[in-house]
Symmetry: C2
Subunit: 122 residues, 2 copies
DNA sequence: ATGATTGTATTATATAGATAATACACTTAT
DNA sequence: ATAAGTGTATTATCTATATAATACAATCAT
């Protein structure tokens, strides 16, 4: 999976959110070890310091913890994982409706819009 | 309407998108004059240079044009306005589904999620 | 023991974004 | 004519990001 980093937002934030999604969606299972800072930085074609900053953010949220000399691991607190996943989803729904209403669409129009998008995966 | 500017994204971009929405949703009617750079900067509690940069972006898109000494005006090209509005809407829908799928939700789960959000305005 | 790998910290440099303070040429209203 | 208000441009300064190049103590495999 490519990392798709833009430059209209801080890179460390984009990385943080990307890994956050991989965590709460189960790409990195609870308790499992994630690649080292240097490995991830190499994979994302980013400076190790930037990756470090992104990972520090995830620690602040409690999603990962570090054992200093053996690596970083995903939390085993599965309720936190599910809770975070639902919070992110709710946020996206809220933001989506907010954006659409700012564009002047009514609730009905938004639902109609979604129906039409039915088959439009990708 | 407050401007609600974050600092996790360039301010001039947030301003640009905000005004863009006001334009395509009709808050600023086609052909009408928008407040001066200095007025808008004051209203948004932002430096005039920053507001200038945001407005320049909108000119690049053709949504506004400036008469140099008399002010800035909304385009009369209503088809461009409608087209831009629909493009923005499509983008939001696409991004929304993309985010939700990255969180591991299926298309059906997403639709179910939206139904439950039915009454949840605000 | 040794060497490689861990997270973490430090220092320096470069760039983008934002603010501040002006300045200019040109309308418009008075 | 004069004064105020347009968009636009310039210069300087400050901060946040990002990169680069190291460094260190602790673990782990060998």
């Amino acid at each position: 999976m490519p990392w798709n980093l833009n430059n209209d937002r801080p890179i460390y934030l984009q990385i943080m959110e990307r890994i956050q999604k991989d965590i709460v969606s189960g790409v990195y299972p609870p308790g499992s070890r994630i690649p080292s800072v240097r490995e991830l930085a190499l994979e994302a074609a980013v400076n190790p310091n930037t990756m470090q900053k992104a990972l520090s953010e995830l620690e602040r949220c409690g999603l990962v913890y570090s054992l200093r000399t053996s690596g970083r691991f995903i939390t085993e607190d599965e309720s936190l994982l599910k809770q975070t996943r639902m919070q992110l989803a709710s946020g996206h729904i809220r933001d989506f409706f907010h954006h659409m209403e700012q564009l002047g669409f009514t609730h009905e129009e938004i639902l109609e819009f979604i129906k039409e998008t039915e088959g439009g995966g990708k």
